[in-house]
């Protein structure tokens, strides 16, 4: 015997994106129910770093959207009850050769033109930033609005906020089938019983394509594996997030002047000091299916790269490593979209490494789309159609 439960809006996925949708949705008065197959924040949202960055976003639409998200996170930090280790110190990118420095100058100009708070840094600035930096670094750039959070505490905090506004959160509830019945309601079969809903939001990150498939919708997201190593607190290496300029090249797919192994695993330095005073060192990028095993060779490359930028941390200790899956899309923009073919079905996934950065604006946008109000940023560049349109084009 099946027990039928009817809900207004069902969000599938209990990661950071589902958390932000649940929060902004229920705050606006929507009746929200979340289904998470494991625990809250047990996928990518706890296998990542906690940077809320504009510094690495494509200048223009993407960086402006990131800036909007940063403003929302800044509000959330006073709005939500549970603290999530929010620190807004800005972030920096460092350059190791003239080619990068030139590209950095261009990047800063483009970002400034888009209205963001960027500036160049010289060698002196870097020396003042951290005495652990390699002496040969030429300079870098700074984005003032960037901030850091603890990603899983941020997820928990948003869900607690959502609950306070009446959201229902079901963990260990896996969606096994999804279809529309004759009454045009969604039927959601889970391992905890069957539900019906008026609207469904797919916030499943790298797993979003599986939910899409249940409705015959192709969602072009692929898992892009990343690894992070955790270094034990010894001495403060820096207080804000640092990345090498090559990170942008690795992310957007350009050519770098680095060792073949560094290139092969897409290794680029990211250093994030955490509130516990440990620091996280990343990063890597690999298309390797859905496996999340820590790869020793990649871990070595990440450590090797860290010492290139911070020679004086050579004797500091690595205590832990973990790997996660970024939901990659071909144009590095998330899919935050209604699905035209299936009214009432929404997708909020495909943020690659920007899920924590863009969660707040994503939650807000889905809330605005469901409530049919004006959206905080234009949503056309985020639509699912953009992939299918370009596909049609390529056949012309």
């Amino acid at each position: 015997m099946k027990h039928i439960n009817h809900r207004d809006v069902v969000v599938i996925g209990g990661g950071i994106i589902g958390a932000a949708i649940a929060y902004y949705g229920s705050k606006s008065g929507l009746e929200i129910t979340v289904f998470e197959k494991n625990e809250l924040g047990s996928g990518t949202s706890s296998k990542c770093d906690g940077d809320i960055l504009a510094v690495d976003k494509d200048p223009g639409f993407n960086s402006q959207m990131a800036l909007k998200s940063q403003k929302l996170v800044h509000e959330l930090h006073t709005e939500l009850d549970t603290p999530f280790e929010y620190r807004n110190y800005g972030s920096i990118l460092v350059c190791e050769n003239d080619m990068e420095l030139e590209a950095a100058q261009k990047w800063v100009k483009q970002q400034q033109n888009a209205g963001l708070d960027f500036r160049m840094l010289d060698r002196e600035d870097l020396r003042n930033e951290s005495k652990y930096f390699a002496d040969d670094l030429l300079g870098g750039l700074e984005c003032q609005t960037d901030s850091m959070v603890n990603p899983y505490l941020f997820t928990y905090s948003l869900f607690e906020g959502a609950k306070r506004y009446g959201a229902h959160i079901h963990t260990h509830t896996e969606v096994v089938n999804l279809y529309k019945n004759q009454a045009k309601q969604f039927v959601i079969e889970t391992n905890q019983g069957t539900f019906t809903a008026n609207k469904v939001v797919n916030a499943c990150g790298v797993w979003a394509p599986f939910i899409g498939k249940m409705l015959d919708i192709d969602i072009p997201i692929k898992p892009r594996k990343g690894q992070i190593i955790v270094a034990s607190r010894q001495k403060p290496v820096g207080v804000r997030n640092v990345m090498e300029f090559g990170y942008l090249i690795s992310k957007f797919g350009g050519e770098r002047k680095v060792d073949p192994l560094i290139e092969k695993y897409g290794v680029a330095l990211v250093m994030e000091p955490t509130e516990s005073q440990n620091f996280l060192i990343g990063s890597s990028r690999q298309f390797n299916g859905y496996e999340t095993k820590v790869d020793n060779e990649v871990m070595k490359c990440i450590a090797h790269r860290a010492v290139r930028f911070y020679p004086k941390i050579a004797d500091m200790t690595v205590i832990r490593a973990y790997a996660g899956l970024r939901p990659w899309t071909a144009d590095h923009l998330p899919i935050i979209s209604q699905v035209e073919a299936i009214p009432g079905f929404y997708i909020a996934a495909g943020h690659e490494g920007d899920g924590i950065s863009l969660a707040a604006i994503t939650g807000k946008l889905i809330e605005e789309m469901i409530n049919e109000t004006n959206t905080s940023v234009p949503i056309e560049p985020l639509s699912l159609n953009r992939f299918h349109a370009s596909l049609e084009h390529s056949f012309d």
């Binding site: 190593i229 820590v294 090797h304 205590i319 832990r320």
Partner: protein, 91 residues
Amino acid sequence: MNENVMIICRCEEVTYHELVSTATKYKCSARELKLRTRAGMGYCGGRTCRTMVEKIAQSMGTNTPTETNISLKVQPPIRPVSFENLGRISK
């Protein structure tokens, strides 16, 4: 000895009281209890306190093992290792 001030996680200095009150407040799994308190996330990688953290979550009735609820995991490296030793790439 007052069990409230008894340290369970020596690396991150998490007390018995902190673990019990967090487990009671959030009725959470061992994993969430670890993430919220940092017990087991320090230098020793949970070698000292992992079973106690699991036990506390279980005693609150919030960590009943199910198919989707496995016990706390162990992450590499096996022992803490310096950047220098880890980052040595053989050519």
